[in-house]
Amino acid sequence: MENKKVAGAQPALAPLTSPNFETGSGKRSSLWKRLVAQRHLQIMALLGVVWMIIFNYIPMYGIIIAFKEFNIVKSISEAPWVGLTHFREFLDDDNLVNVIRNTLGISLIKLFIGFPLPIIFALFLNEIRNVRFKKSIQTISYLPHFLSWVVLGGILATWLADVGIINNILLALHLIDQPISYLAEPSYFWTIVISSDIWKELGWSAIIYLAAISGVSPEMYEAATIDGAGRFQKMFYVTLPSIKSTIGILFILAVSGVLNSNFDQILVLRNSLNDSASNVIDYYVYYTGILNGRFSYSTAVGLLKSVIAMVLLVIANQVSKKINDTSLF
């Protein structure tokens, strides 16, 4: 009885004690009330938002130095505007053709060889019957992913050295007369970069496909078996179509990252002798900006790259939407 009375009395009292009094509108007051109720959540969220503003959005604002003549001792806003001067300078640069050729060459070959290989690897690994053997292969194939590019650079330098194993084998087979300094020869650079990247990431990239394959219903395979499908036929007509959407999404991501020619790797493997094959956009930005202090010019080059990458992302997304019905946005 008593409880009911109190409950009944509350609505009459509420307008007096609510923040409604101060803020005016009822809608706003309920928003305010909800904000207060979730103040802890809001603090957590805002800490993240503040971090993103500082570390993601302030650098985006910093891009305007590409259109200015930025001087290290002055602030960004003080620097004078110079329009597209730095972009024009890059287009006139002797390095332009070389840098674009290396970036696109390495990236596209990586995309067209490096993208399908993990899918093929996953398809074949999935056909291994012995569970323990399958698990061991998987564990071994991830291993190189955990090595840093610096260590891998060391391994490659050891393998490709004049007294290294590759030269020793080729000399023993009389395929060459003299040891070759592979890392000093521009003509070998792309092959080294692409094959070492595949070596490092094959198993790791396959994880996601293996996970997708494990979700395929066993009934589909049984039905295919009854229809008389062989192993290859099951791979092509059951497994592959079932992981189509995973492949689509990963392909879009791969295309959008195509110009990121793996800076870490290039930096470790490049040297002045193979420069004509190893100078990619990312390295050129680092070289002109950080090493030579041409901040504005270097930012302009980096910005051009981002714009092209963005366009590629949109194209890949549209293509995938048409062919595959999967898209990121």
Partner: protein
């Protein structure tokens, strides 16, 4: 049923070829690492002759002794251990905290926050604007440059969020009835049941922290603050290019080979910790990667 399970000749052949193929892949994956390992355990001058493929010819621990006795290398090792441990704990905690808030469906402004974050996955300032920011924040020559700029990752947030949304609401409601606020729900209810995803993100970030040499290279000049990978990068890049210069000129010096064997030993010491950790976390990260990539 019996007939279905019996292998045909073609099936058997397929299995044999497939098994051989997989063994080949394992060999190609492991052998380069093994080659470095046996050479690291071999006498440096002797290794210069080449021909050590399967087992050390003149077994020695001298190379490793040299690594552990070098104060520069050990200091870099400690910096790497410190930045990995602190970095992983800070990154996992901070990213999970933001992800927990973002994952609540009633969060006011939640949609806006998500748009803000999604944009960061596709746009960025690039190298130079980021460098200028780090400089203006006084993070140059500062240990915190390894921690703060990578405290948060929107990609990792999505992985966390997807996982948090699958936690039954009942758990949270029960805690709320007991008078818990959002902080204690996050800390005492959500985090403890999220070990698989925490392990995944911890592994990803741990690998990043352990292997990153670029941060140490561009933001740090002070050698006592430099991580082992940056140290190794300087050794690898410098000595390999000088070695190549020598090779091009057609002469070989004995001294570089000793530095070579120390280089190999340093590489082994740098790699071992992470190679030991990952098999323990393996069962978690397959699931974690699946969650993150498909819905990302």
């Amino acid at each position: 049923m019996f007939a279905l399970n019996r292998k045909t000749k073609g099936e058997a052949l397929f299995d044999i070829i497939n098994n051989i193929l997989m063994l080949c892949i394992c060999f190609i994956t492991l052998y380069p690492i093994w080659y470095v390992l046996v050479n690291a355990f071999n006498n440096g001058n002797d290794a210069m002759q080449g021909g050590i493929y399967w087992w050390p010819r003149m077994f020695t621990l001298e190379n490793f002794k040299a690594v552990f006795e070098s104060p520069g290398i050990m200091q870099s090792m400690w910096i790497t251990v410190a930045k990995t441990l602190i970095g992983v704990v800070a990154h996992v905690f901070f990213t999970a905290m933001v992800a927990y808030a973002f994952s609540r469906r009633n969060l006011i402004g939640g949609r806006f926050y998500m748009i803000l974050g999604t944009i960061t996955m596709f746009f960025g300032g690039g190298l130079i604007p980021s460098f200028l920011l780090i400089r203006d924040l006084h993070l140059l020559e500062n240990f915190m440059v390894y921690i703060i700029p990578v405290l948060f990752s929107f990609f990792d947030l999505i992985i966390f969020m997807t996982f948090f949304r699958e936690i039954p609401d009942g758990l949270e409601e029960a805690a709320r009835i007991d008078g818990a606020n959002d902080w204690s729900i996050f800390l005492r209810v959500v985090l403890p049941v999220s070990m698989p995803v925490i392990a995944t993100i911890a592994l990803f970030h741990g690998v990043y922290q352990w292997n990153d040499y670029f941060t140490g290279m561009i933001y740090i000049n002070n050698e006592s603050l430099q991580p082992i990978q940056t140290y190794l990068y300087r050794v690898v890049a410098q000595s390999s290019s000088s070695q190549m210069m020598v090779a091009v000129q057609g002469s070989a010096a004995t001294k570089t080979v000793t530095s070579q064997s120390i280089k190999l030993a340093t590489m082994v010491v740098t790699t071992l910790p992470i190679v030991f950790v990952y098999p323990f976390l393996q069962r978690y990260f397959v699931k974690g990667m699946m969650i993150g990539s498909i819905k990302g």
